[in-house]
């Protein structure tokens, strides 16, 4: 790890100012950023901790549905979202191990947009709104490919607002080593239709499976998926699974998510 300055602002305004300086980077739970720094693969001059800002903490009900502060650890979401949005709570409770869940945060995960991360699928399938220090971004506009998002220089997530579906489920198939998603599917059924978001599987990062959404909106049962498939050409192929295998998983897991919802 290289040397760096550390600041811990107490408000969004202070954090905004701190992140304007050259070489500043946001630090939330540090579960992704700190290992990268330890390996000397990242060398920010200033780390701006977002965990001391009261408005960025906690889970509450609000006008959109469930509002979650960006610096809320996964373990808190797992506990506090359980009564309102069980599928989301279950997702949070299945991330990493207890240490990761007690440090890592939803904002860090959504900002990082790891193609194998869990949260992006929930944000996309829920049609959530990503609130930043500058604006509100609809989930459909937010995720832009592997590790790429709509966030601009100096912009950071303050909250994620989740509409609460009538039914939902998240089914994750673990990559055997990292236990991130080798493929995982979040299915959310709303009054006006079903949204299906897939993570872990695609070369393009988290994506919505439009055909499955159409079929399930018409008939919310696993049988509705018969005959559908995702294109294996778009899927990741690596040591842990071929593209064809991931394409299969997407379908199987979608069916299981529908059954579990």
């Amino acid at each position: 790890m290289y040397n760096f300055e550390f600041v811990k602002p107490a408000s969004i305004a202070e954090a905004t100012a701190a992140l304007e300086s050259d070489g500043a980077q946001a630090l939330s739970g540090g579960q992704t950023l700190l290992p990268t720094m330890k390996q000397r693969l990242a060398a920010p001059d200033v780390l701006v901790s977002l965990t001391g800002i009261a408005e960025m903490q906690g889970v509450c009900l609000g006008d959109v549905g469930l509002h979650i502060g960006a610096a809320t650890p996964h373990a808190v979401v797992a506990r506090e979202a359980a009564a309102h949005y069980p599928a989301l709570a279950k997702l949070a409770g299945g991330i990493g191990d207890p240490a990761v869940r007690n440090r890592g945060t939803i904002g860090g995960s959504v900002a990082n947009n790891d193609p194998a991360a869990c949260y992006p699928s929930a944000v996309l399938a829920s049609g959530a709104t990503v609130v930043t220090n500058r604006r509100r971004i609809a989930a459909d506009d937010y995720f832009q490919g592997l590790f790429t998002t709509a966030l601009e220089e100096g912009e950071f997530i303050t909250q994620v607002l989740f509409p609460i579906p009538q039914k939902a489920a998240y089914v994750k198939f673990n990559q055997p080593a990292s236990r991130f998603a080798l493929a995982a599917v979040f299915v959310a059924k709303f009054a006006d239709g079903v949204r299906v978001a897939v993570t872990g599987a695609s070369n393009g990062g988290v994506f919505r499976w439009a055909e499955a959404e159409a079929a399930l909106s018409a008939n919310f049962s696993a049988d509705a998926l018969a005959g559908l498939s995702v294109d294996a050409d778009d899927m990741i192929s690596d040591l842990h699974g071929t593209a064809a295998y991931r394409a299969n998983l997407v379908k199987v897991l979608t069916g299981r998510a529908v059954s579990a919802a």
Partner: protein, 790 residues
Amino acid sequence: MPKDDGIGASTKRREDIRFLTGKGRYTADINLRDQAIAVFVRSEVAHGRINSIDTAAAAAMPGVLAIMTGADFASVGGNPAGWYVASRDGATMKEPKRPVLAHGKVRHVGDAYAVVVAETLEQAKDAAAAIEADITELPAIVNMADAVANADNRVHDEIENNVCFDWGWIEDNRAAVDAAFASAPHVTTLELVNNRLVPNAMEPRASIGDYDPGTQDYKLYTTSQNPHLTRLLIAAFVLGIPENKLTVIAPDVGGGFGSKIYHYGEEAAVLAASKALNRPVKWVAERSESFLSDAHGRDHVTKIQLALEKDGTFLALRTETMANVGAYLSNFATVTPTFLHGTLMAGPYKTPLVYVNVKAVFTNTAPVDAYRGAGRPEATFSIERVVDMAADELEIDKVEIRRKNLIGADQFPYTTPVGLVYDIGNYQATLDKLIELGDLAGFEKRASESKARGKLRGLGLSTWIEACGIAPSALVGALGARVGLFDAATVRVNATGSISVMTGAHSHGQGHETVFAQVVAERLGIPATSIDIVHGDTSKIPFGMGSYGSRSLAVAGSAMVKAVDKIIAKGKKIAAHMLEASENDIVFEDGKFSVTGTDKAKTFGEIAFSAYVPHNYPLETLEPGLEESAFYDPANFTYPAGAYACEVEVDAETGQVTVASFTCADDFGNVMNPMIVEGQVHGGVGQGIGQALLENTSYDENGQLLTASYMDYAMPRTTDVPFYTVDHSCVTACTHNPLGVKGCGEAGAIGSPPAVVNAVVDALQRGGYTHVKHIDMPVSPSRVWSAING
């Protein structure tokens, strides 16, 4: 009932108190006054010619004390292979020198070519990054078949076709084996891979060199399973430091699994740097260095054939194996795929004819050496897979085909066609025990329950044997070993009756401090709490060969028993003197020396005290003191054996395999501490399940290690293993060591992988996927799904 701290008691491990409360003292915990920190600069390419290394800029950086490169060690010796293996045509083994730091060429990703020593770790890292190495990248040799086929691209310029040796065992039997195949009613052929594993000891390697300019003595603190062997290698071969000027201390060591048997260049480098700087120099590996530079395990590609009668009687077995030794010969790289593998290819069976061919191949990958089981898991996996496949082909029950071919209990001692003499065993008994304990009769019912939940259930067996207690020096010497494999102990009874036992074995997780004390306590009839086991420091312990090959109790423990018996004999002399009786009339029982037929007696404590307060000793016939040493060289290997059953559930839609149950019926000979034996089996089976289902060491075509962290290298976790059912009640005591023990440390890792894979193939066959004959390890979900849909 055993006494609660004697032989046979499940005494809790005394060392766990310090391990579990953070009071262990590992090499990284040791900080010497004025120490400097070393960081190694490692090759990022798999194969390259070093044109120049410019250290000038780095040397000028803050805090930098010294930089050494391969050139600094060009004149010192090389780290040798511990075993000579000749090719079957008589050609000598190709033995490239293994340098302290790479010189001339780098030969694998992670090959260290320079070391930076600085005041702090950060300074050393900064300087390491500033070293400019001009390295011309050469095509990487990764795949063994390519390595052998390509005469021009060589890991070592002087070694054609990258072949270390081409070994036949037993060459004289080859023609007879081939003839048996030619006329056999049935031949089963299987090609398989024994996957390469990264050892992943919980504690990464670490070394501190500490040179004393006053006395010119060197001390090396290091993560070693065998400090005396490391000292010998450094002294006699690598640095030429006189043995009496070098102390090697292996303090608490957090697991080895074989990877810490060997001497590594980092140990020599910190010693040399300490001498150059007159300061202690410390290096602690980061986990990524462990992945790249610890000796890996397994990595065989094998074709195995079994010739049978139609009724399933084994007629002959032959194998052709390519064994990857990586870029350099690690100390036991040559024996692991040969004499620890080929000699086991008879398994527990009566197969009359066996021939094994092994080509050892150099590649641009990390060196490969012994890893828990060392050669025997590879042998067992090949045999037990081909037996299952033959049973399928001939439609014979998997239990019956084994039972039919197992060596009978009345056939011991049994001479195998691959050069071993099994002293004793009862393989039918462990198989029967397994059938009962694992409720094999209830399998069909469990399978239908699984089916109701949408899962395919399979049952896999493995009846296995290993050769442990390594090893009779005369035998291994005749086979090419360059070391003896005896062990040693000193028992020092202090004046107040407490005892220090200095052992040549090294405990790095095994629990020797507890078990060895139990054995001595039982033998001397005194409480284990007054006995301490001292290990790991060459300045304290006698010359022993360390711990690996399930040898500690069978070999070092036997030396300890011999030394204890000498203590008893000496105690009798002292007692005879004190009690004014004839030595022949003294009996020792329950910690008391007494004169037969009288009530005259002295306690062990009184004898000890007298030995050090010898006011009226007849000094011509009775020496003061009560301290004895013994060396023990075993008469034979020991042969633990057992029968394992694994049940799995397969989710055919995702290919996910879940281990539903695992049952072990083992014969380890006499058991000293059942709890520790069970723990060893649990750990070994866990590692075997890891190999079978999860662990995959993958290099790409450029020789980059793709699985260089836990993000991609899957280790077994508690949720990957079931609650085990283990039993060791089938005992045939080893016939040639005083405790009748055989060793249990590797059994689980040897016997379990084929049971798991057999179970998966069985599940798929029963589920109607009869085209699936074999899946290579690790049997990952993706591979299972591809096999089903292939």
